[in-house]
């Protein structure tokens, strides 16, 4: 199985760099970027299984970035990094399709748990799509798979 691909988006450079190192060390394929715009560009270039997204960033903010990424890669699970002050924003984010949130400053263990859940969910999701495709091939379509075929 391929390694999981994770995109870290946070304007704190040291934070991103260290987190990328630690996740890579735990055998995840991790990329880090410092801005929302950069994250969207990366999402266009390659698929990710999970995106860890800071809500408060200069330029394109977390919610905007979330919307863009979800447009490009609907199946990528987004975990929001949230401060105490942006609780409402993270709720909004989850209504927009984010998978979960983690309170800053994060503990790696917590993040790993959430990432694992995200991967599980995504895997399940993809499995369903595959099953549906198989069914679609063997049966006449009735409710056929939803047109989420943005996946490759």
């Amino acid at each position: 199985m391929d390694r999981f691909r994770v995109l870290i988006v946070d304007d704190e450079e040291d934070f991103v760099e260290t987190l990328v190192n630690r996740l890579n060390r735990r055998n995840l394929e991790t990329t880090g970027v410092g801005r929302g715009e950069e994250a969207v560009a990366r999402a266009r270039e390659q698929p990710f299984d999970a995106v860890v997204l800071d809500l408060k960033m200069p330029g394109m903010d977390g919610i905007e970035t979330l919307k863009e990424i979800k447009k490009i890669q609907p199946l990528a699970e987004v975990i929001l990094l949230t401060g105490h002050g942006s609780m409402e924003t993270s709720i909004e984010g989850m209504q927009l399709g984010a998978f979960d949130y983690v309170l800053k400053p994060i503990k790696l263990e917590d993040l790993l748990v959430k990432l694992a859940e995200a991967f599980k969910k995504k895997a399940l999701h993809e499995q369903k799509i595959r099953d549906a495709r198989i069914k679609g091939l063997t049966h006449f379509p009735e409710g056929s798979g939803r047109p989420e075929g943005g996946e490759e």
Partner: protein
Amino acid sequence: MKTEMYSDLQRKIITITLLVSFSPLLVLGATIYYQFANTYREKIRDQISYRAGAQAEAVDLFLKERTAVLSVIAATYDFEYLIQEANLAHIFGIMNTSAGAFVDLGVIDQQGKHLAYVGPHNLKNLTYESERWFAEVMNSGLYISDVYTGFRRFPHFIIAVRRQQDRKNWILRATIDPVVFGGLLRSAWVGKTGDAYLLDQNGVFQTQPRFDGQVLSNADLDTALFGTGVTFFEMEGGAEGSRLYAGKWLKNKRWLLVVSQEAAEEMTGLFATRRLEILIVGLGILAILIATIATTRLTVNRLKQADRRMNKLNMQLVQSDKLAALGKMAAGVAHEINNPLAVIIQKTGWMEDLLEDEDFKTSKNAQEFKLSIRKIEEHVERARKVVHNMLGYARKMEPRVEDVDVNATLEQTISLLENYSRTNNIEFRKELAQELPILAGDQARLQQVFLNILSNAIDAIGKDGLIRVESELTETAVQVRITDNGAGIPVEFQNKVFDPFFTTKSSGKGTGLGLWVSYDIMEKMGGSIRFKSKVGKGTTFTINIPILLPEKK
């Protein structure tokens, strides 16, 4: 200093009020009194003057009558007839029946020889030729003498008329009874000190005065003081005080009728009025004094209370302003600290990850590194907790609205602490009101407030003590009172306890955020949190939760 200001104010109000109210009262009192006194004196003067005038008229009339009687007799009867003593006695009898007051009656020829006499004294054959009155009456035809002792050795006076008959003169002479004449004046001895008497031109008593003198003694009164008509004056006397005098010369201009009275007696009415007036003014002053002092005290006390309330209110306003500003600042600081903390945690995590590598594991100081990193993490965790509390996710989240049973929330909170309190021998005594309404609110936040205050109470006691938890329904709120008998809060700390980071607990044991957060929660809820504390006695926190009833579902 404050007390001084109030008493100064009180003094000023009292002084001004008294000045303003006393001055007109005294001026009015004095004016009325002097007006009244003047009128009264005038009236007395009129009265005494009238008495003198009337009395003088009566005496004049008396003399005129007696003179007329004599004149009529002298004109009616002949000399020869009258010198018969039997005839004279007969006429004397008639005179005394009709007019009275005659003591004797005599006929005297022009040589001054007493030819006939009727009366108690043996005056017959006495010769009056050398007497002054004899010359007078021979000269003017009528004579009324001053009072004199004469042959009789007691004071009397005479009336004599002359008649010319056949070129010869004779005289009819009568003595007036001094007792009857004196009685005429005695009737004017009014009251206890009233006197009335006659004086001759030299100031010699012609009748018996009531006081200080005898007939024919000198009256010590300057008759020149009396003019025509009725003269009135007041004279300073001795021990009895001044006397009022009124006098009038009789028609013959030789006798002066004097009426006198002690001024004090006449003035009793005035003095009574004066006493009454002084009493009324005195009572008025007393009433004003009492009323002024009482109302001023009341006013100043009200002012004091109002000031105190105002100060308290101002202090509360300042307090909540301060807390609001501090809150904003703290939130800003917390955010700024949060980001570096996040980086530090990742960095230390990374270092730990790297220490797992073989070459580091075997390194001499690997253990020391690990220990240091753990310590860093521990302290970052501490800092993280502070930030967490400061930003209090409970505070920042939208408040939930749910049904809240205050008593149940209290019970639940107490049960969380009971295990700890039991080991420290701290008793909870619950006095919860029955039938409190179910409120609409955020139970978790309310519990946070209760927990903060109850655990503070436990910390204040330490070991062995009592925490009383009461709930009560007031008009606008459900009131919860939590009272401990612990150490109490020193006065100098009392306006700081709600400040963030204010704590008396040792570092690491308390963040100083509990009461700050509680205060904020209660304010946002529309309620309040207050306390009263006395060092050594304990502290009572009073929490008012506004009555917001849940919407009917």
